[in-house]
């Protein structure tokens, strides 16, 4: 879909009001992730939308709500006593790919050589961790999207490949921006979220191996994301992990 600035401009107000259906919301988020022309307009729409609740008469608060909230806070504190990490201020510059280790082999076509390593999942993850996977703390790409405080970003890079992922939690949209070698015939790239306990959940197939693909997903429990190479149609579990990056 060729989604441009005119489409975005027509849609920003609806986006600020949470009125876009999922498909169109993903298209807009993809666009906003790289286009800075809408920052000011979206920010102004959000400022208006944020004041609309003031027009609603306040009903009486339920008696037990405050206590329930604090009890839930106490429970969560008890089970997760470690303070949440404070992220660095957002940067808008493009990520600097991490240099691969000198000994890393050059990428080859997926049907052999370097890629064949990844047909052995256990070995692949080990090597990935040691040589290829470089986790980069990224800022948010775009000031418009930066206003969503619930954003997680990460990236990984290796020889001939890179992946940047931003998850916009309040929108429930994850954008994968990748630059990967062409897959072999009959193979596809598949995106995954990985929970903190190591469980892989498929987000879907990448539409391109160069550029952005957005997925509607609840990734609030994700500790990492990954891309794997799979047979056409995708797999239930990743069989050939290529890149992985922790949030």
């Amino acid at each position: 879909v060729n989604y441009g600035c005119n489409d975005a401009a027509e849609t920003l107000a609806a986006y600020a009001l949470d009125a876009l259906p999922v498909g169109e919301r993903m298209l807009l988020v993809e666009h906003l992730a790289e286009c800075r022309q809408h920052d000011e307009e979206l920010s102004s729409y959000r400022a208006v939308a944020g004041r609309l609740p003031l027009t609603v008469p306040a009903p009486a608060l339920p008696a037990g709500l405050r206590g329930n909230l604090l009890a839930a806070f106490d429970r969560e504190q008890a089970t997760a006593p470690t303070p949440l990490p404070v992220r660095e201020p957002a940067e808008t510059a493009a990520p600097a790919p991490v240099e691969p280790a000198p000994a890393a082999p050059e990428p080859e076509r997926p049907n052999g050589g370097f890629w064949s390593i990844f047909r052995q999942p256990a070995l692949a993850y080990g090597i990935a961790a040691a040589l290829l996977i470089a986790v980069i703390g990224l800022g948010v790409w775009n000031l418009s999207l930066q206003e969503d405080a619930n954003v997680m970003t990460t990236a990984a890079a290796g020889p001939g490949m890179s992946m940047r992922v931003s998850y916009y939690g309040n929108q429930g949209v994850a954008v994968f921006d990748v630059d990967m070698p062409d897959p072999a015939s009959g193979q596809v790239y598949q995106a995954w979220m990985i929970s903190h306990d190591g469980k892989h959940v498929s987000l879907g197939l990448l539409e391109h191996n160069h550029g952005k693909t957005a997925f509607a997903a609840d990734m609030s429990a994700a500790g990492a994301v990954a891309i794997s190479l799979e047979p056409a149609g995708g797999s239930a579990t990743p069989t050939t992990p290529i890149v992985e990056a922790k949030f």
């Binding site: 600020a16 009001l17 259906p21 400022a47 208006v48 944020g50 004041r51 003031l54 806070f73 429930g172």
Partner: protein
């Protein structure tokens, strides 16, 4: 922490400092800061959730989840933006998501007693000069055309997507987008200089 009135004009500077303290407290996982945030903005949060979802336990759940989400997001909050803005975004997101995930079609009839309906005698500019922030926003809403106001009502306050609103209003989706754009643009102009 004593909660100021979040809608009072004279309290805005105090509100900003208060919000900063709350955000700093939430970042330290301070329970009292969460309680103070609730005391300040719980009523507004519950009003919005109830408006979108209808008075129900769902609205209570949304409010509780929203405050917990606010706390979890505290490390990434920018104090300059203000806590209310973040919280209202979260509440609306969650209310709308819950509404839509259950396949619940929002009410099809516009509320004739909508809170933003203009008082017949109200001169928006006059109202904005002397009234509270809430009155200023009501006045800005009152300055919209009926078509624009209906589009805002159905999407923001009823939680409809633009597609559902278009069905309801029997107009193309593009027309709903256009009305929303014009509505927020008009309100932005009306509210300029009032913050």
């Amino acid at each position: 922490l004593n909660a100021p009135d979040p809608t009072a004009e004279s309290e805005r500077t105090t509100d900003e400092a208060f919000d900063r303290k709350l955000i700093e407290g939430l970042q330290r996982n301070d329970r009292e800061s969460l309680a103070a945030a609730y005391d300040s903005y719980g009523g507004l949060a519950f009003a919005l959730a109830s408006r979108v979802m209808g008075a129900s336990s769902d609205a209570e759940d949304v409010v509780q989840e929203s405050f917990l989400a606010l706390w979890r997001q505290a490390p990434r909050l920018d104090a300059k933006r203000g806590l209310r803005s973040y919280l209202m975004t979260i509440v609306h997101n969650k209310a709308v998501d819950r509404l839509r995930s259950r396949g619940r079609r929002p009410e099809a009839v516009l509320n004739e007693d909508a809170p933003f309906k203009a008082p017949e005698e109200a001169e928006p500019a006059h109202v904005a000069e002397k009234a509270s922030e809430a009155d200023e926003v009501r006045a800005a809403l009152a300055g919209l055309s009926d078509d624009q106001r209906s589009a805002v009502e159905l999407t923001y306050f009823k939680g409809m997507t633009i597609n559902d609103a278009a069905d309801q209003l029997k107009v193309p989706v593009g027309t709903v987008k256009s009305r929303l754009r014009l509505a927020l643009g008009h309100m932005r102009k009306q509210l300029e200089g009032t913050t």
